[in-house]
Symmetry: C2
Subunit: 354 residues, 2 copies
């Protein structure tokens, strides 16, 4: 499957919107629980929307899987990151050893972490890794496209397939995660191309760069957009020209989750850039996405404002990996427990509002 753009378009066209009848029945159930109507705010929204995705009031998210995609970026040659590129594979090993932030927070909420090599720049062989490398990192996008459209399509396909496998294994909710030194730069470029936004307003400090490096990073984003200006008209073209392999993987996972009516929690800045590509490919995916948090990375706020969306958490996170997704999966779980475990006014013998 998914060998051509036409097949991708067909797949995207099969994504259906929320079941509004189930949404209404879920809210009616929530309104009959022993609390003032709407008083559990976004927890109620999470529960009702998840039911409407799944098409049943008996929705559960007991089995949770975070898909953390790793890839490298040729643009690091421009000196836009605080960390050296060797950290990408080092962190992949750290994920597989269970010592990274996403591992800790995934354990905290009872989620499994699956790590996918879509495009780390060095060969990797380690037990537990999903080895789906499309190529050894991208090219430097200031000198031409980061990759071909065929590579971008292949990365999306990897994301679709690993998400479908996770769902086949029983996952009732997915979370996205990323690892790729330098990847706030292509993410900023994708936002700039697709929102659209000016490089200076969307580009931030990533893992923690100084003023001089930030100025260079903004110039790098602007140059990548200029060099690739003839390739940015379509979401797939933009992903190929100024995106990344792990970003393509996340985009594919979001498409596959929506296609199988499964909630997916979008992590931070990089995952949101991937979500934006997915939304441009298939607007209905928005119905299946929960946005986990407002990243401390400058520019994330602009994404939410321009899209008319609101994230769940405001904890000044800026780590990626799926850390925010993990925390928010716990909130979805809490919302469904409210729906399934709270007593109704009738059951508890509690008087209703006058």
């Amino acid at each position: 499957m998914m060998e051509s753009v036409a097949e991708l378009q067909k797949f995207c066209g099969e994504i259906i919107p929320l079941d509004q009848a189930v949404l209404a029945r879920a809210q009616a159930r929530l309104d009959n629980l022993t609390k003032p109507r709407g008083s559990l705010g976004k927890l109620e929204m999470l529960a009702a929307k998840t039911c409407a995705m799944r098409g049943t009031l008996a929705a559960k998210v007991d089995k949770k899987v975070i898909l953390t995609f790793a890839g490298d970026h040729g643009v690091v040659a421009e000196g836009i990151s605080a960390f050296p590129q060797e950290v990408t594979p080092q962190m992949v090993y750290n994920f597989l050893a269970g010592g990274a932030g996403v591992n800790v927070l995934a354990r905290h909420v009872g989620a499994e972490v699956r790590v996918i090599d879509v495009g780390v720049a060095v060969p990797l062989a380690v037990e537990g890794l999903l080895a789906r490398k499309v190529r050894l990192g991208t090219e430097n996008m200031t000198k031409g496209p980061a990759m071909t459209e065929a590579d971008a399509l292949a990365a999306i396909k990897v994301g679709i397939e690993v998400a479908q496998q996770a769902i086949a294994d029983g996952a009732e909710i997915l979370g996205t995660g990323d690892m790729g030194i330098g990847n706030t730069t292509p993410s900023a470029a994708l936002f700039a191309a697709l929102l659209p936004a000016a490089p200076a307003e969307i580009t931030g400090r990533g893992t923690g760069i100084d003023d001089e490096t930030l100025a260079r990073k903004i110039a790098v984003v602007a140059k990548a957009l200029a060099v690739n200006s003839d390739k940015l008209a379509t979401p797939l073209g933009a992903l190929a020209a100024v995106g990344g392999l792990e970003i393509g993987g996340i985009c594919g996972a979001i498409l596959a989750a929506a296609h199988q009516r499964t909630p997916i929690v979008v992590d931070g800045f990089i995952s949101s850039a991937a979500a934006l590509v997915a939304i441009k490919l298939a607007p209905n995916v928005l119905d299946y996405c929960f946005f986990s948090h407002m990243s401390a990375e400058q520019g994330h706020r602009l994404f939410f404002e321009k899209m008319g969306l609101a994230p769940l958490l405001h904890l000044d996170l800026r780590l990626g990996e799926g850390t925010g997704a993990a925390l928010s999966m716990g909130l979805v779980d809490a919302g469904l427990k409210i729906m399934n475990e709270m007593a109704t006014f009738g059951e508890a013998g509690v008087s209703e509002a006058e």
Copy 2:
């Protein structure tokens, strides 16, 4: 103990600030974990502050207890609530049967809920209830003080004692919760008196009242402040004149947690009013409080702005009971797990920032 105002003042004076040396050591430990510095935002703050409270880098919050205090309010005679007063005892039974929102969210984070009758307006006898009734509800504060200062002191004493008992039973973190039909009205009056604030800017819709009832509620708050104007100069005087018994209990629990260097998560609007009384009695308690969420109740935002504080969650919650405290206890736990379970750069062989 605590038979006089002088004894309360002595107790408050024994509350010490955070251990700054431990705070610095905790942040140094966090900075050495495999993530960019500060990239887990408020989770890092929660972990470091909890260590500084406990005086050790080995802090844990495995045992969590939510203290939900119940009391009634004579001011309901003024028609300021959407629900009838009989709902207070009905919800106490619901808490003890495990069917309320706080029970579900407490189970979700692994917390125990303890329910304390400080002043429900009817006699209650039910297994599992901590029966510490000071009196059968308060008086109508628009006609005079809600209670005497001796009653307010007794309510604080109840809160201190049940919090001390929870800590003696092994609790490593406490959460506050409230139940009392009408209690956003005395809470608004307390904020108005102690922040201070105008009744119209601090008074909101509580469980869901219409415009006409809201206008009446604002007038009721203003009248209570006018009638009791000679009693609002001290925090204890304000609590007695325009507060409530469950609010006094929560205030006492916060004082006791701080006194024993134990983190306490302050729930929503009503718990924040109690926290404000505690802060006015003993400013150092602020070092031991985490504020769980920005309530959808109008006025809560003003409290945070005037106090220069920031809550953890923004989920449009407005239920009380300890529901927001439960969710935020989970975040404190997550922060400490980050500190205790993540690999360091050295352990994982990950390169540091250049």
